[in-house]
Amino acid sequence: MIDLSIRHVVGDLDLDVAFRADVRTLALFGDSGAGKTSVLNAIAGLLTPQAGRIALDDRVLLDRANSIAVPVAERRVGYVFQDGRLFPHLDVRANLVYGARASNGERVGDFDAIVALLDLGTMLKRMPTTLSGGERQRVAIGRALLANPRALLLDEPLTGLHSEARQQVLAYLTKLRHELRVFTLLVSHHAAEVAALADEVVLLDAGRVTGRLSRAEFTARYAAIAGVA
């Protein structure tokens, strides 16, 4: 469950967003510049909003009124960045276990299960530069999951991929959605991937929440551009 209410105004960014959701996968849907990634950054702690409160399940990550701001490294959110951000000097295996090692003895995601789920077994010894865009994104997803996160944050995970890779990664994300019990917040401006993955959708425009749709409502409204019936 996520309970978020943040305000942040700096330069061109004017963010005033509040939502609460208790679903498996929530999507933030909106055009570029709507403030979607800033919301993810605030949850991860990479951006500290000027005011507000963020809680994941029963854990408060940020509460400006009470001067609470959990450090980024302690938030345990699995952040899959739009550009993957694999560590270029580490092979796939080392990238995957990077977060697992950092979680200090707490139970971490099962390496073999995640590797099998994302079909990463054949690429463990490869360096990130030798991977295709789709493969890189799968490794980034695996790396985030192996850190045993309370929430998985997906920032436009299919953007920049060609259509075949997009379908491939989407299939893996759909599989994850069914097999893993981790709250996922998907940020996207692609109706098709939102329709395929989200249980509920928060519409964002210019830093404000402009609507809230169930999956069925979203699919109905955006059927034409989502390519779904």
Partner: protein, 234 residues
């Protein structure tokens, strides 16, 4: 080869190599720390620190040597305090290491700082979200991705230290077997009748060491480590 260089010349070469290597090893931790501060931290007096850092590059080396003598000489406050606990730098080979380290320090810090600056901060943010706190992020992300710059800085500082003359002769003088480094030996031979052959031989040795250092720097810039860093940039 033994006859080609005199025993005293061999001593000078060995001393220069020892002084240069040790000066780099000793100053590397401080250079890493200062480069990190300058690359990532905002602090009061930062501009002053940056200006001070450049001083050994700008000042005549003899002045730097004199400053070291004024600070660490036997009669200087710090020097005499250290002497009481048995640490003496003036007119000792260890002092030559200090002089070489001071002269090479700016080159080391500047190279490392550029390397730190060029590490993609987004990768550090990614590591942080994966639970890596400051030291682990530095050790596992920043340091490996800065290896090329650090290695290049070490080569530059080594070369600077190997060729050091002015600060060394001012601070530790010319004591055969103790502080008579290769450049000082060459300088001394220049003023000795019939010393020209020795000058030529030692100059050739200096040239070979310089070429080896330059080749190392080139290899590092374009070699294996370099390729690893370029992969990071892609």
């Amino acid at each position: 080869m033994t006859g080609w260089l005199s025993p005293a010349d061999w001593d000078a070469l060995a001393l220069s190599l020892r002084v240069a290597v040790l000066s780099v090893i000793l100053s590397l931790p401080f250079a890493l720390a200062l480069a990190w501060m300058l690359s990532r931290k905002r602090f009061v007096g930062r501009m002053l620190v940056e200006a001070m850092l450049f001083l050994p590059l700008i000042l005549p080396p003899v002045v730097t040597g004199y400053a070291l003598l004024a600070l660490l000489g036997r009669n200087a406050p710090l020097g005499s305090a250290l002497a009481e606990i048995g640490i003496v730098f003036a007119f000792r080979w260890t002092g030559a290491v200090i002089a070489a380290a001071v002269m090479g320090f700016p080159l080391l810090v500047l190279s490392i700082r550029v390397a730190f600056d060029s590490v993609d901060r987004r990768l550090e943010a990614a590591a942080e979200t994966l639970g890596a706190r400051g030291w682990r992020r530095f050790r596992t992300i920043v340091l490996p991705l800065s290896l090329r710059g650090i290695a290049a800085g070490c080569v530059l500082a080594f070369a600077r230290a190997f060729g050091e003359f002015g600060a060394t002769i001012s601070f530790v003088s010319n004591i055969p077997g103790e502080t008579r480094t290769l450049p000082i030996a060459i300088y001394e031979l220049l003023s000795v009748p019939g010393g020209m052959t020795g000058v030529q031989h030692l100059s050739l040795v200096a040239l070979l060491v310089a070429l080896a250092a330059a080749a190392s720097a080139t290899a590092i810039a374009g070699g294996v480590l370099g390729r690893r860093n370029e992969e990071g940039a892609r």
